[in-house]
């Protein structure tokens, strides 16, 4: 009994369901009039309004993907694509409305900001409610703000980069994003500036039957470096919520960017997120990704290595429980000589959950002497869970080193017996094995996220028993 209580207490942190106390919520559906109304509500400049309307046309012209999880339950007529929370964006937590601040408090955001972050953005439903960055970074010319402010105050930089890395016709949900995007973060790190302490944006979706479509645009200029952390969560509702964010990363020559994410959506969420990085000469982008929760997830971060000696590493884990279909992976295009990619992907499935690792490695003719090494490992906790690996490898030049290794495993009874002989219950034993399996990923995460991830693993495993 005690166990069930613990679970409920923990779960409550993510499941705080505030009253749907918005300032403005657009009516459900997706029409030209709705897009025009969102644009009006957001005070878009003309170019952005036109952009949205074109994106809507593209959306209407594209079909749902013919592969991967079945998305037929998604009915855009049942989704409100814009929900403006009460209050204006604040730079002090004291100015954030009480119920919203309470949620972020419980998620530990203001505390993390004090202890280990150089800047924080917090989005609630469709708009950013808090943004702040340390003074010394402002002095060095670093820009970290919400996307709307960036559109207003840095129009040239935004126009040059906005949806240039992820083109609006990439797929249907990118087009949707282009039409209804709202919120998100804009970061610019000037040439040579090293941001030693991470910046973090947290996206919280509270409103039922709604969508979150934040846009994250990060430009790390030549020789600069940044660690950016993104966290996402939502309470559970009975009807479908949609997340179709877009992340565009421009990592210029000699720059370094580490992009860490923990997505912890509730199990009514369709997570159709698109993330892509353009990587210049001698530059590097590292992705660290934890995907928990969500009913369906289709998430394939992508690095395009356009400059000589560009590097990328992807370290990711997915955890699918009952009723979840997590179709995640990583894509890389080697498009210049001597580029390298290292992929270390893991997945855990239990209670009938399904994890698919879907990947692409393309090494073009322009990329001799490139190296790519892919390792994916899955762990199934029972006989009814599913794990699959669907790699696509497209190697167009001979002068490359390429390796792909896939392992699918189960927890052996012998291992459980061994751990139980050391006083652990069967649940403790499984949790220890799973935490150990996930450790190569969790050690790459910022420490509070690593702790969160271990808590999530314990929570998921307790759920299996309770």
């Amino acid at each position: 009994m005690a166990k069930t209580q613990v679970e409920e207490i923990n779960r409550n942190i993510y499941d705080i369901r505030n009253k749907d106390n918005y300032d403005y919520k657009i009516k459900k559906g997706l029409t030209k009039e709705i897009i025009e109304e969102i644009s009006k509500q957001k005070n878009d400049p003309d170019w952005m309004r036109d952009f949205r309307l074109k994106a809507l046309e593209v959306y209407n012209s594209l079909e749902l993907p013919t592969w991967g999880p079945d998305l037929s339950e998604l009915d855009m007529n049942e989704i409100a694509t814009y929900v403006r929370p009460k209050g204006k964006m604040a730079s002090s937590w004291d100015d954030v409305p009480e119920d919203i601040k309470g949620t972020f408090d419980k998620l530990g955001i203001p505390e993390a900001e004090k202890e280990s972050l150089a800047g924080v953005g917090a989005q609630y439903d469709s708009e950013v409610v808090y943004h702040s960055m340390k003074e010394d970074l402002i002095k060095q010319g670093v820009i970290y703000t919400d996307m709307e402010t960036a559109v207003r105050e840095y129009p040239e930089m935004v126009k040059e980069h906005f949806m240039k890395c992820v083109p609006v016709n990439d797929h249907k949900f990118v087009a949707l994003h282009g039409a209804v995007w709202s919120g998100g973060s804009f970061v610019y790190v000037p040439k040579g500036v090293k941001v030693d302490i991470p910046l973090q944006s947290y996206f919280r979706l509270n409103s039922p039957e709604s969508g979150q479509f934040e846009h994250t645009l990060i430009i790390v200029d030549e020789g600069a470096s940044l660690h950016f952390i993104e966290g996402c969560s939502a309470p559970k509702y009975n009807k479908v919520n949609l997340h179709a964010g877009c992340v565009e990363l421009f990592v210029k020559d000699g720059a370094y960017l580490r992009y860490s994410t923990i997505e912890n959506w509730s199990k009514n969420m369709l997570n159709l997120n698109t993330k892509k990085a353009l990587v210049g000469k001698n530059a590097q982008v590292d992705w660290v990704s934890g995907s928990f929760g969500s009913k369906i997830s289709m998430l394939y971060p992508m690095s395009i290595l356009n400059g000589e000696n560009a590097k990328t590493e992807f370290t990711g884990i997915s955890f699918a429980g009952k009723g979840q279909n997590l179709d995640n992976g990583f894509k890389v295009v080697h498009n210049a000589p001597n580029t390298s990619s290292v992929v270390n992907a893991k997945s855990i499935s239990k209670n009938g959950g399904k994890c698919t690792y879907r990947s692409l490695v393309r090494i073009t003719k322009n990329a001799p002497k490139s190296k790519s090494s892919v390792s994916c490992e899955s762990l199934m906790l029972d006989d009814i869970s599913v794990s699959d690996t669907i790699p696509t490898n497209d190697i167009e030049t001979d002068e490359v080193e390429f390796s792909h290794e896939a392992k699918i495993g189960k927890i052996s009874d012998k291992t459980i017996f061994y751990l139980m002989s050391r006083g652990m219950s069967e649940e403790d034993a499984k949790a220890m094995i799973v935490r150990g399996f996930a450790y190569p990923i969790s050690k790459e995460l910022p420490v509070e996220y690593a702790v969160e991830m271990n808590n999530l693993i314990n929570l998921e495993l307790e759920g299996a028993i309770g």
């Binding site: 291992t415 061994y418 139980m420 050391r422």
Partner: protein, 246 residues
């Protein structure tokens, strides 16, 4: 006050459909070192696993008492928490879990007490030195990439840290060189006191030379056919099991 730790009464055990133990009786008191010897396939490992309720084995008949409490139907983790430890012939590898974290967690589970990290690490370090273990192994994943000898020493380390009332060592000496066997013996001597007991399962007598063995039991075809003092081990060393086989 009773001195009795373990008592096995007329135990019959099957592994899958096969009859392995056919009526074992054994009594171990505090302060004693017992040895079970016997040829391959006689049921030595089954005895250890049956005490620990390994689900692979089925107990058909008989009782196992620990401190006069019936543990025949107890779960493996409950048995461990009562104070029985078993060293495995083939210890499992746990990737991503360091020796330190594993032992800290196990100690917490076995004792039900919070583990004070500083004292714990000091204790661990002391034991590792005594067992000539590489201190770097503390932060390595449990048993992953360990040599056979390192794995066995790690089992002895676990015994010392968890400090059970009864330690069952299943073929801990097999496959070890002379030095490693000496280290294992040293670990047993360090562990042993008048309030605990050790049950050594082996088909090798080297490990017994430096230990003060109280009883030797000869197990053949699922039955204890002879029980004697430490001298019996010497006799086996010289003559083998031939005279005890039918």
């Amino acid at each position: 006050m009773s001195n009795s730790l373990l008592e096995i009464k007329d135990l019959y055990v099957n592994a899958e459909e096969k009859e392995i133990l056919k009526g074992i009786n054994l009594k171990i008191n505090k302060g004693e070192i017992h040895v079970i010897m016997g040829p391959n396939g006689s049921g030595k490992t089954t005895t250890a696993n049956a005490i620990f309720s390994n689900p692979v084995y089925t107990k058909l008949k008989g009782k196992i008492l620990f401190e006069n409490e019936d543990i025949t139907e107890s779960r493996t983790d409950e048995i461990a928490r009562k104070g029985i430890f078993m060293s495995f012939q083939l210890p499992e590898e746990i990737p991503g879990v360091s020796v330190t974290n594993f032992l800290k967690y196990a100690k917490n589970k076995v004792t039900g007490q919070p583990v004070k990290i500083f004292e714990f690490k000091k204790e661990l370090q002391k034991y590792m030195e005594e067992l000539s273990m590489n201190p770097n192994n503390m932060e390595r994943s449990l048993n992953v990439g360990f040599s056979g000898g390192e794995k066995k020493k790690n089992e002895i380390l676990q015994m010392l840290v968890l400090n059970p009332k009864l330690a069952i060592l299943d073929e801990t000496d097999s496959g070890l060189d002379v030095d490693a066997i000496r280290t294992v013996s040293k670990g047993i001597e360090m562990f042993k006191n008048e309030n605990n007991a050790v049950l050594i399962i082996t088909h090798n007598t080297k490990i017994l030379r430096s230990l003060k063995v109280d009883y030797v039991h000869i197990l053949v075809d699922g039955k204890i056919v002879k029980t004697g003092s430490g001298e019996l081990a010497k006799e086996i060393e010289e003559n083998g099991y031939a005279k005890y086989k039918n």
